[in-house]
C-alpha cells in the first residue's frame, strides 16, 4: 500500500481512538513499531523529546514528526491532518447537539459538577509540571531530597509566581524571560 495512504489511515485511527491526551496516543504508536519499519521505539522517544521542547500540541507534533520521517514533508502534513480529522467530525456533531440542549437543566447540572472537577484536574497537571521544576530527579534513594532539589529553577519559579500575582503580563512574556534566565544561569 502507498505510504501516504498508510500514514493517513494509521493516524486517522489514532485520532479516533486515543481519548484523553498525548499519553493515550503512546500505546497506539508502539503498536505501529511492530507493523512498520519506518517507526521504531527510539524514534518515538526522540519525538517525545522534540515535541516537549517545541510549541504546539504534542499530538500534532508527534504526527508531523513521525509522518515526516516516514514520508517526507507530504507525509508529515498528511499524518497531521489525519489525526485531527476525527476530532473535527466528532466535535462538530457534539457542538450541534449542544447548541440544542445547552439550556436543559440536566446539561446545566452536569456542568456545575464538571467545572470544579476540571479545575482540580488542571491543578493536578500544574503539580506535575511543578515537580519537574523543583526536583532534578524523583528517585530519592540515589540522591538525598536536599540534593534532588533544583535550586535555580525553583527560585525562578518563585520569582515568576510572585511577579504574576502582583501584575498581569502576557503569558508569552514569562516564557521569554524564563528561556533567557535558563540560558544565562545554565539551568
Amino acid at each position: 500500500m502507498n505510504i501516504y495512504l498508510i500514514l493517513f489511515l494509521e493516524f486517522f485511527k489514532i485520532g479516533l481512538f486515543a481519548v484523553g491526551g498525548v499519553l493515550a496516543t503512546l500505546p497506539f504508536l508502539y503498536d505501529l513499531t511492530e507493523k512498520y519499519d519506518w517507526i521504531t521505539p527510539e524514534l518515538i522517544s526522540d519525538m517525545i523529546a522534540v515535541s516537549e521542547s517545541t510549541p504546539g500540541p504534542i499530538g500534532i507534533n508527534t504526527a508531523t514528526y513521525v509522518g515526516y520521517t516516514a514520508g517526507g514533508m507530504l507525509g508529515g502534513i498528511i499524518a497531521s491532518f489525519a489525526i485531527v480529522l476525527p476530532s473535527l467530525i466528532i466535535i462538530t456533531i457534539i457542538a450541534k447537539a449542544m447548541a440544542k440542549f445547552k439550556s436543559s437543566p440536566f446539561v446545566e447540572s452536569a456542568f456545575s459538577v464538571i467545572r470544579p472537577a476540571v479545575t482540580a484536574l488542571i491543578l493536578a497537571a500544574a503539580l506535575q509540571v511543578l515537580e519537574l521544576v523543583i526536583f532534578k530527579t524523583t528517585d530519592f534513594s540515589s540522591a538525598g531530597i536536599a540534593e534532588a532539589i533544583n535550586i535555580k529553577t525553583s527560585v525562578l519559579f518563585i520569582i515568576l509566581m510572585i511577579a504574576s500575582l502582583k501584575s498581569k503580563f502576557h503569558p508569552i512574556a514569562y516564557i521569554g524571560i524564563a528561556a533567557a534566565a535558563g540560558i544565562i544561569f545554565k539551568m
Binding site: L88, I90, A95, A110, A117, V118, L160, G182, I183
Partner: protein, 185 residues
C-alpha cells in the same frame, strides 16, 4: 470571511505559544479568545475542555474546534483546528529536516528548564482564574477536592473522573425533580 481568517490567526498564535499539551494552551485561550475577542466565556472554555477530554482526539484541537464552531459554524471550526495545528506542522518539519540533534543541544536544554518554570506559573494562574468562575460554593469545593484526590493520589483515569462528574450532575437534577414532585403532592 474576514472573521474566519481572524479565527485562524488567533488559533495560530495560540498554537505557537503552547508548549506541552492541552492544559498549557488554556492560559493563552483565556487571553486571546476570552479577554481579547470575547468569542467564549471562561465557563464555556472549561465546558469545552471537559468534553474535549472524554472525546477522542487531541484536547487542544477539540477545544479549538468547539470555539470555532460556536463562533462561526463549520467554517469557523475548520479554521480554528487548522490554525492551532499549523505552527506544529511548520516548526516540526523544519526541525526534522535541519536539526536532528535539536533537543540534545545544551543551550536548548537550559532554555527549556527555564521555560518549564514559566509553564508552571502560567498554568497555576489559569487555575486561579478558573477557580473564581467555576468553584462557587461549598459543593464546588468538595467536588474540586474529590477530583484532585482521585487524579493525584488514586490515579483514576481522567476520562473516568469526568464521566463520574457527568453522572453525578444528572443524578442531582433527577433528585431535585423527584423532591419537587414530592413537595407538590
Amino acid at each position: 470571511m474576514k472573521e474566519i481568517i481572524r479565527i485562524f490567526t488567533s488559533f495560530f498564535k495560540i498554537g505557537i505559544m503552547t508548549f506541552g499539551g492541552g492544559y498549557a494552551m488554556l492560559p493563552f485561550i483565556q487571553k486571546e479568545i476570552v479577554e481579547k475577542h470575547g468569542w467564549a466565556t471562561n465557563e464555556e472554555v472549561i465546558d469545552y475542555y471537559a468534553i474535549g477530554q472524554c472525546t477522542p482526539g487531541i484536547i487542544a484541537v477539540n477545544t479549538a474546534t468547539f470555539i470555532g464552531y460556536f463562533h462561526k459554524g463549520l467554517p469557523g471550526a475548520v479554521s480554528a483546528a487548522l490554525g492551532v495545528i499549523s505552527p506544529s506542522i511548520l516548526i516540526i518539519t523544519i526541525i526534522a529536516a535541519f536539526i536532528q540533534q535539536f533537543s540534545d543541544a545544551p543551550i536548548v536544554q537550559y532554555a527549556f528548564s527555564g521555560i518549564t518554570a514559566a509553564v508552571a506559573v502560567i498554568i497555576i494562574n489559569a487555575v486561579i482564574k478558573l477557580w473564581k468562575s467555576g468553584v462557587k460554593n461549598v459543593f464546588g469545593v468538595v467536588i474540586f477536592a474529590l477530583a484532585l484526590v482521585a487524579e493525584v493520589i488514586l490515579n483514576i483515569p481522567t476520562m473516568l473522573i469526568i464521566i463520574t462528574a457527568v453522572v453525578l450532575g444528572i443524578v442531582i437534577e433527577l433528585v431535585r425533580r423527584a423532591r419537587k414532585k414530592g413537595d407538590e403532592r
